[in-house]
Amino acid sequence: MNEHEREQAFLAQARRVLDASAAELDPATRTRLKAARAAALAARGPRLSWWLPIGGLATAAGAALLAWTLLLSPVQPAPGLEHLDLLTAADNLEFYSDLEFYTWLAEEADAG
C-alpha cells in the first residue's frame, strides 16, 4: 500500500467512525435536535408573509401617484364638447343656423 492509499484508507476509516458517532447519539440529544428542527420550521412561517406588507405599500404608493398626477394635470375637454349645448338644446337647429341673421335684425330694430 503506497502513501496515497494509506491516506485514503485513513480518511475512509475516519468517515466510518464519524458516521457511527452520529448514528449512536443518545435519545435525549436526538429528542432535543428534533425539537430544534420543529422550532426552526415553525419559525419559518408562510413564505409569502414577507411580500404582503411590501405589496400593500407598493399598491398604496401607486394609487397616491395616480391621484397626484390626475389632480395636477389640466383638464382637456374632449373635441366637440364646446358644441354640446347646441346638440342637446331643445330649440330648432335652424334657429342656430340663422343666429347671425337674428342678431343683425335685433341690432337694426334697436337702431331704428
Binding site: A14, V17, L18, R32, A36, R44
Partner: protein
C-alpha cells in the same frame, strides 16, 4: 426542508460538539443554524441548502469560539490564570455519555474526537467539512469564510496531525 434538516442534524451536532466540547452549546448552535436556514433560505434551491447550512453553522461556531476566547481572557485577567490556554481544552466536557455509551460508540470514536478537539479550529473545520460533509475545496472555503488556499493548508495539516496521532493506534 424538514427532511433535509433531519438528514443533517446528527452530523451537525457532532461537528458543533467537537468544536465546542459542550453539549448544550452545540445544541444551541445547531438550532440557530436551522432557524436561519429555514427562515431565510427555505425558498432557495434544495441543492443550495447543504452549503448554506454549513456556512451558517461554521459562522456560528466561529462566533462562539471568539466569545469563548474573550471570556477566557477576561477570566484569566480577573483570576490571574494562564491566558494562552486553549479555550476548547479549557471547556468542561458536557458530553459524558457514560460507560455503556462509550462502549457502544467505541474507542475509535473517542480517540478521533479527542484528536479533532485538540486541532486548531480552522484545521478541525476544514477536515470535517472536506472528509465528512464531502464539500469540495470551494464549498469548504465558502463555509469557512476563507480562501481556497487556506482550506488546502488547514486540511493538509489536519490530515497530517491526525494520521500521526491515530493511524497506529486505531483498533
Amino acid at each position: 426542508m424538514d427532511r433535509f434538516l433531519a438528514s443533517i442534524e446528527a452530523r451537525a451536532f457532532r461537528i458543533a460538539h467537537i468544536a465546542t466540547g459542550n453539549r448544550e452549546d452545540a445544541l444551541d448552535l445547531v438550532q440557530d443554524a436551522m432557524m436561519k436556514l429555514a427562515s431565510r433560505y427555505a425558498g432557495h434551491d434544495e441543492a443550495e441548502w447543504a452549503p448554506l447550512f454549513h456556512t451558517i453553522l461554521q459562522s456560528r461556531i466561529r462566533d462562539w469560539y471568539r466569545r469563548s476566547r474573550v471570556r477566557n481572557r477576561l477570566r484569566a485577567w480577573l483570576g490571574g490564570e494562564d491566558d494562552e490556554a486553549d479555550p476548547i481544552a479549557e471547556l468542561p466536557d458536557g458530553h459524558n455519555p457514560g460507560p455503556a455509551a462509550r462502549l457502544a460508540t467505541g474507542r475509535a470514536t473517542e480517540l478521533l474526537e479527542a484528536a479533532l478537539g485538540r486541532l486548531p479550529l480552522r484545521q478541525q473545520q476544514a477536515f470535517l467539512l472536506r472528509v465528512w460533509e464531502g464539500l469540495d475545496v470551494a464549498g469548504t472555503a465558502r463555509a469557512m469564510g476563507c480562501s481556497q488556499g487556506s482550506v488546502k493548508t488547514h486540511y493538509s495539516r489536519a490530515v497530517h496531525t491526525l494520521r500521526a496521532q491515530l493511524e497506529d493506534h486505531w483498533p
